[in-house]
């Protein structure tokens, strides 16, 4: 058995089902092994950021890692931005990066670079394989490390000769450690705080945003009166009618301060102490009121849901009843405002949809309307590295072929990994992209104004505007093999969105804002 075969066999035996790949010469033995060993689907991305973002989306939906297969340092570097998002999402993800043959490294051939140096900043674990004999074991260890709670990005480099040489053996993937339960004393301490009935808020993240976590959190809120907030950017949150709704912590610090105003105790539940996305002059990094105290019910790697349930029980909270039925929004009509855009998606998205939200400044109204939509999962941009949306939609669609994926996508961000559209077409994925075409890096225009640059000069204007020339997203999508249409009114958006959601395969609706 070659080293390459031992890697693929070990991964398949360890539950890895999909490889998002953009391989090169140094990965050809692994590609050959993907053919000789059954059990792993290979999905081509035409740019590496597509592969890493897809692996992130896949794991957010499946709770287990996909593999990426990337070419040497520069190919891997192209995937780093979405690995940054995966890192912030605590996504289990296994990167396999080919390297030159061990004996060829010293020659410093043109493609040689410090792969481990590049991998470190975005990986929780990095290993350089050095022989075919140890490649199975290295692979098993990589998978286990990726799954250690709360999950994380790992990177294994594999020299070409270790792939093609004989001597490989399959290794068993050890189960990851179970999530550590939260100590009863910690639960009781938080319960004691909540029993005082002073203004408190729970900030929910990670596992707390699963349906089970949200239901337990809602029991706590009902019994104690504490407020429920979710992280500003969640790796995954369950939303919609019948699922307890929580308030998302706003993005800008002024609004976040408002959301947290009056809170005497902030309780972290699978979330970090919230900080401002950027530093602004005179604004502290921490968002919680200075006079508030902080409690940690559960860290993100702990049994967050169990802790919430124990807390609810400690407070004597009732089991959840049926949630109040929100009034479903009605299909919008008229001009294509952001409110109408959000309403159209919220009204039409089917049960069980996966909404990948990288709509940025175009997404605001949808966020509030989504609570009244049919139950769905929402995946957000966790690390701020734009260009996550379309690739993550690819991965989510491959993870859940029975669910409709809606990529709610800003135009500026979408451009970074636009090649993802081709993979949607090749794999016939049920991804409906709603492309918000406002033809600007609007957030930068807002940030510049916030910083006092209210009369932007030509360079600021030029560097924040996506026109001229106008990006013709319909032409681009068709160029990648995805049927597309451009809409300029709410009525047309509703008409075409209804149509494409009833069809199989990918499509793109360019919503001109």
């Amino acid at each position: 058995m070659t080293g390459a075969e031992s890697l693929v066999r070990t991964a398949v035996d360890g539950g890895v089902e999909v490889c998002f790949a953009n391989p090169g010469t140094t990965e050809m033995p692994l590609v050959t092994a993907l053919d000789s060993v059954p059990g792993m689907r290979a999905v081509l991305g035409l740019f590496e950021g597509v592969c890493t973002g897809a692996a992130d989306g896949y794991a957010r939906m499946r709770g287990k890692p996909a593999m990426t297969l990337l070419h040497l340092g520069p190919g891997f570097a192209n995937g780093l931005a979405n690995l940054h998002n995966a890192r912030r999402a605590n996504t289990p993800l296994v990167n396999v990066v080919g390297d030159h043959a061990t004996w060829h490294l010293a020659a410093d051939a043109p493609l040689t670079s410090d792969i481990a140096g590049l991998a470190g900043p975005m990986s929780r674990w990095v290993r350089a394989n050095t022989s075919a004999e140890t490649l199975g074991a290295d692979t098993a260890e990589a998978i286990r490390r990726s799954l250690e709670p709360p999950g994380g990005v790992v990177t294994l480099t594999v020299p070409a000769d270790c792939q093609w040489s004989e001597g490989g053996s399959v290794a068993r993937v050890a189960g990851p450690s179970p999530r550590r339960p939260v100590a009863a004393a910690t639960v009781e301490q938080v319960a004691a705080v909540l029993r005082r009935k002073q203004p408190a808020a729970m900030l929910l993240g990670g596992q707390a945003l699963t349906r089970g976590g949200l239901e337990a959190a809602a029991r706590v809120a009902a019994a104690s009166g504490c407020r429920l907030l979710s992280e500003t950017f969640s790796a995954r949150i369950e939303r919609g009618v019948g699922i307890p709704a929580v308030t998302r912590l706003p993005y800008f610090p002024e609004q976040a301060h408002e959301a947290l105003a009056g809170v005497r105790t902030l309780i972290l539940v699978g979330a970090k102490d919230p900080v401002s996305f950027f530093g602004y002059p005179g604004v502290p990094s921490r968002l919680a009121p200075a006079e508030s105290s902080l409690e940690i019910l559960a860290k993100v790697e702990e049994d967050v849901t169990g802790a919430l349930e124990a807390l609810a029980d400690a407070l004597g909270a009732a089991k959840p009843g049926s949630s109040a039925t929100l009034e479903a929004p009605s299909a919008p009509t008229g001009p294509l405002t952001l409110a109408n855009l959000g309403a159209a998606i919220a009204v039409l998205q089917p049960e069980g949809a996966i909404v990948v939200d990288e709509a940025a400044t175009s997404g605001g109204p949808y966020g509030s309307l989504a609570a009244a939509a049919k139950p769905h999962s929402c995946l957000m941009l966790t690390g701020g590295a734009i260009g996550q949306g379309l690739p993550t939609a690819v991965g989510a669609a491959i993870a859940c072929p029975d669910r409709r994926v809606i990529a709610f996508q800003a135009d500026g961000s979408g451009m970074y990994t636009v090649q993802a559209l081709w993979t949607m077409a090749r794999e016939s994925l049920d991804v409906t992209t709603v492309l918000c075409s406002n033809r600007a890096y609007r957030i930068l225009q807002i940030e510049a104004a916030r910083a006092g640059n209210v009369e932007p000069g030509p360079k600021l204007r030029g560097l924040t505007a996506l026109e001229p020339p106008v990006l013709d997203w319909s032409a681009l999508a068709r160029g990648f093999g995805v049927p597309a249409v451009k809409v300029e009114s709410a009525d047309d958006l509703v008409k075409h969105l209804r149509r494409v959601l009833a069809e199989r395969g990918p499509s793109l609706i360019e919503a001109v804002l």
Copy 2:
């Protein structure tokens, strides 16, 4: 003066004229300074690899650095692949990367990452600025370091508060060290070898591929009978009628061995001891015959041209006469073969064209025909990180607005940084892209066959084929604002290439192979 203003003023005073930018919130004070300080052109790329590749192309043509302006670790990471190519090309290039405000870093906000760790592998010099007061001096030092012979990539991180704070002062950019002359004894030693008249070859790289370098090398060859070879991938080479032609060292080791067969002494002139691009079983990394000896006339950072001239004088070589006139190829007709593709470009390219060659497996015949074309500069893929061509064409066009740029581009490679087409349209650049649409990663199919996988399975086939679906490059180009046409015969290629070369502004011809 703010720190940001001191950075821009220092750079402008130091001769930096262009900033290729994809900024974010942490770079907004620098964008504001680009407006308040005159003298630096700001060019937007919709993906960071466009910016770094453009800065590489600019400097290859101008011999001085452009600046990039990139957003934090993930944005910078998107530019790394083309920085790898720039590093291999010894290109002077100054990256400016914004970072969080110094006091905000400890908050570990979502976009925080180890920027210096990411920068190290692709930079010759990295510095983290820490105050507005020192930002001018840090900028001056960055520019000087980038220009130290033979030139290189430097990265300066600048926290947002150091940009917006007052206290900046302009620093003078010290001139870089002059290129060190090669010792007379070294020249004499090589001359003595050549006087023995045993089979010898000079491998030319860097400055040796300028017109002056090539002319001196041709004198040496005429006087000594030694063969002239150029590196497989040159940062820049002057070619065409009237310029001494050299043989490019082939890519595959078998062919490289053949080109070097019989050589008793290999003389390196601004080039490295040649090694195989990849390691193959049973093939040594070094390409030179094992029994040959090695001489180094000049290292890439030394005065390479001066050394060649001194060597020619030591050999009593005549001053160059007029070169033999090669027979110009005639306009091809018939099917669109690779030979016809190459001939069409060689025949029609105007005097002084800049050919950016990332045609990969589609480019072979052109390389031989180019010696008979009108004099031109050719820029190649130096580091093997594909996706260099279109961005480098952007930079070359901005560097030399009076010269026509021809991007001779493979389809697989072109996809990595396809967003460069938009910048060509926005800046109305005279870039003619000839897109070689063979709808495959052909090199990988060849490499797999070389490795013995002659009956590829479905996964190898799928991971090396760019169809289905077919990428419609004409639609893609139009989507980015670049007029485009698809051609399927040599006659149509000639017709449309002739037409677009007579027009201003960008265009794309999709050559279906």
